[in-house]
């Protein structure tokens, strides 16, 4: 398969990009609004072409543990789900993080709590960026704001996961998962045949046995391991922060928004500029590691930052921590599957400016 331009849903783009990135396996369980990922893969049947395994598991719990087993073999494996399903996967995710394994988890977020709604939301930010399961750990979290990024971030997420031996997450939402856009797909990559030195692939006489575990009953060693994880997260914070800026050069007020909200803020920004309001936008692409340094720099130059999220206000806490009181910070958001309009966002920026 060569580079190709297609019109696709965000969910389909993830599935196709996974095949083309040379993924070894996908394990999933149906849930709205992301079932197209599993459906697309089942129809594409990559087992016959690239050899990629696609399996519908009996539950989200089983699916993430299949990912755990595959990742422990050093394979490029992934799962996807939506909010309630991601809650179920948290046990497996913390084991994967604790065993330092690479994998990709996609969350096409819907409104909550509980069964909530099937409409788009951004209310899983805390869960995605602060760990999600038990114990001290972080996922590397990428937030796409277009179908193109849904496709592009699959390979990026795998690359980062293997670079740091850490699970990556694509934190999308029902809007980007369901909407159709043009997307450039990369050429097909061959699946790797390499046996990774740490992976459980069967012990040859030439090496010690490999043991993949997150268990250490010795508290001193466990604390050293926790410190090793922290060092890894610090390195990610140094090297992997990604964000995009719009009209921040002369901005007096800043929108901070990711994913769908960032697209709405881009329009709100144009409307604001038409009215002579010097607004700008910072769109975090990595939600963890978060663009703390850049926000701290901008805090010296702007009069305030408005975090716009489809949630009760979650990322706003990271914005506040980043600016550390140097500028005013507030939140505007809709919940329960409601998507704000650019006009509504602009009105709330005006209210914020008034103070």
């Amino acid at each position: 398969m060569e580079k190709e331009l297609r019109l696709m849903k965000g969910n389909e783009a993830i599935a196709e990009a996974a095949i083309r990135a040379g993924a070894d396996g996908y394990f999933g369980y149906p849930i709205t609004p992301q079932s197209e990922i599993l459906e697309y893969l089942m129809e594409a049947n990559p087992q016959e072409t690239t050899g990629m395994v696609v399996l519908q598991a009996e539950s989200e719990v089983a699916a993430i543990n299949m990912v755990y087993g595959g990742a422990a073999c050093g394979k490029k494996v992934m799962t996807s789900s939506s909010s309630p399903g991601i809650s179920l996967k948290q046990e497996g995710i913390t084991y994967i993080a604790g065993a330092e394994l690479p994998c990709l988890i996609v969350n096409v977020v819907r409104g909550g709590p509980g069964l909530g709604t099937i409409q788009p939301a951004q209310s899983d930010y805390f869960q995605a960026t602060k760990g999600g399961g038990h114990g001290d750990y972080h996922l590397l979290v990428l937030a796409p704001s277009s179908v193109q990024e849904m496709a592009d971030f699959v390979e990026l997420a795998f690359d980062l996961a293997f670079k740091y031996r850490n699970p990556s997450m694509i934190l999308s939402d029902g809007a980007i998962g369901q909407m159709m856009e043009k997307v450039w797909l990369k050429p097909q990559k061959k699946r790797s045949e390499e046996l990774l030195p740490w992976a459980t692939t069967g012990k040859p006489a030439t090496r010690e046995r490999n043991i993949i575990t997150s268990l250490d009953l010795d508290p001193e060693r466990q604390e050293k391991f926790n410190q090793k994880l922290i060092a890894k997260y610090r390195e990610m914070e140094e090297k992997e922060v990604r964000f995009e800026e719009f009209m921040t050069e002369d901005a007096e007020y800043l929108f901070v928004a990711y994913g769908t909200s960032a697209r709405i803020c881009q329009k709100a920004l144009q409307l604001a500029r038409n009215e002579g309001i010097k607004a700008g936008l910072l769109r975090p692409i990595t939600l963890y590691p978060f663009p703390k340094k850049r926000l701290a720099e901008l805090a010296d130059r702007v009069r305030g930052m408005l975090s716009v999220e489809m949630s009760a206000g979650q990322m706003v806490e990271d914005v506040m921590l980043s600016v550390n009181g140097k500028t005013r910070v507030s939140h505007y958001g809709r919940m329960g599957g409601m998507i704000p309009t650019p006009e509504e966002v602009l009105e709330n920026m005006k209210l914020f400016i008034k103070g």
Binding site: A57, A205, R209, I211
Partner: protein, 258 residues
């Protein structure tokens, strides 16, 4: 009669037992008289004799055998409680030529991991599930398990398991034998030399069936828990024979057509 010295006895022709080269030198943490050590040893011997060490991936459970990877010299993954068959499913699908087994206790396999057990067997994954059933949660200190016998006392059924309140003990081997995905289901024990030999033959058959991709092999080992049952090793074996075996009868439940 001339005096016999130790060095006169240590000769290859006098060798009655030799530790498998696939067992490590680590001292096992199991309680005296527990069946786990014997089951590990038999499995290690089969891995050695069948030349599987270089292509084996084992999945350990949460329970007494959580640290099994310290004792058998093959690649291991340590699963979350009950999830070993899900890990094994992925390992086998991604690397079909590896010998893949899970080793699980009754709480792991028959309580928290019931869904994974049933569905892995139902898909007929080409793996071996080794199920150690001693009717109790050993590691956490002797709580009631799904396989605890009716009337049997445990720390969470101190007056005996009341089946009207706590349900009846569950016969997992009989359940998975009903699924078309399983090819070989058998119930064995390690309390006698004969039992040990039979278990070894059963594991060798499971290796053969896995090589031939015939479906899931499920070997239950009815075992004891001297500490959890609060008995001496000898008492626990006697109690097992008198109480566990009538409810969990030993022998093949399902064998593949030749």
């Amino acid at each position: 009669m001339a005096e016999i010295k130790t060095n006169d006895i240590i000769k290859p022709e006098n060798l009655a037992y030799k530790k498998s080269s696939v067992l490590t030198d680590n001292v096992m943490h199991y309680c005296p008289g527990c069946g786990h050590g014997t089951a590990h040893r038999v499995l290690a011997e089969v891995i050695e004799e069948e030349g599987l060490q270089g292509r084996t991936v084992g999945i350990t459970p949460v329970g007494c055998s959580v640290l099994m990877y310290n004792y058998i010299d093959v690649d291991f993954q340590e699963a979350a409680h009950g999830r070993a068959p899900a890990l094994a499913t992925a390992v086998k699908r991604l690397m079909p030529d590896r010998f893949v087994f899970t080793y699980q206790g009754d709480g792991d396999l028959a309580a928290i991991g019931t869904a994974e057990t049933i569905h892995t067997c139902n898909r007929g994954e080409n793996i071996l599930i080794l199920f150690i059933n001693n009717g109790i949660y050993g590691m956490t200190g002797g709580q009631m398990a799904p396989t605890t016998l009716a009337g049997m006392k445990s720390s969470t059924s101190p007056y005996g398991r009341d089946v009207s309140m706590m349900g009846s003990p569950i016969k997992m081997a009989d359940i998975v034998a009903l699924l078309p995905g399983t090819c070989y289901v058998t119930r064995q024990s390690v309390n006698t030399a004969g039992g040990v030999r039979k278990l070894k033959r059963a594991i060798k058959k499971a290796v053969e069936y896995q090589n031939d991709r015939r479906g899931t092999c499920f070997i239950e080992v009815v075992s004891n828990c001297p500490s959890g049952w609060k008995m001496t090793p000898v008492e626990s074996n006697k109690w097992m024979e008198e109480n566990m075996f009538p409810f969990y009868p030993l022998g093949d439940i399902k064998v593949p057509a030749e």
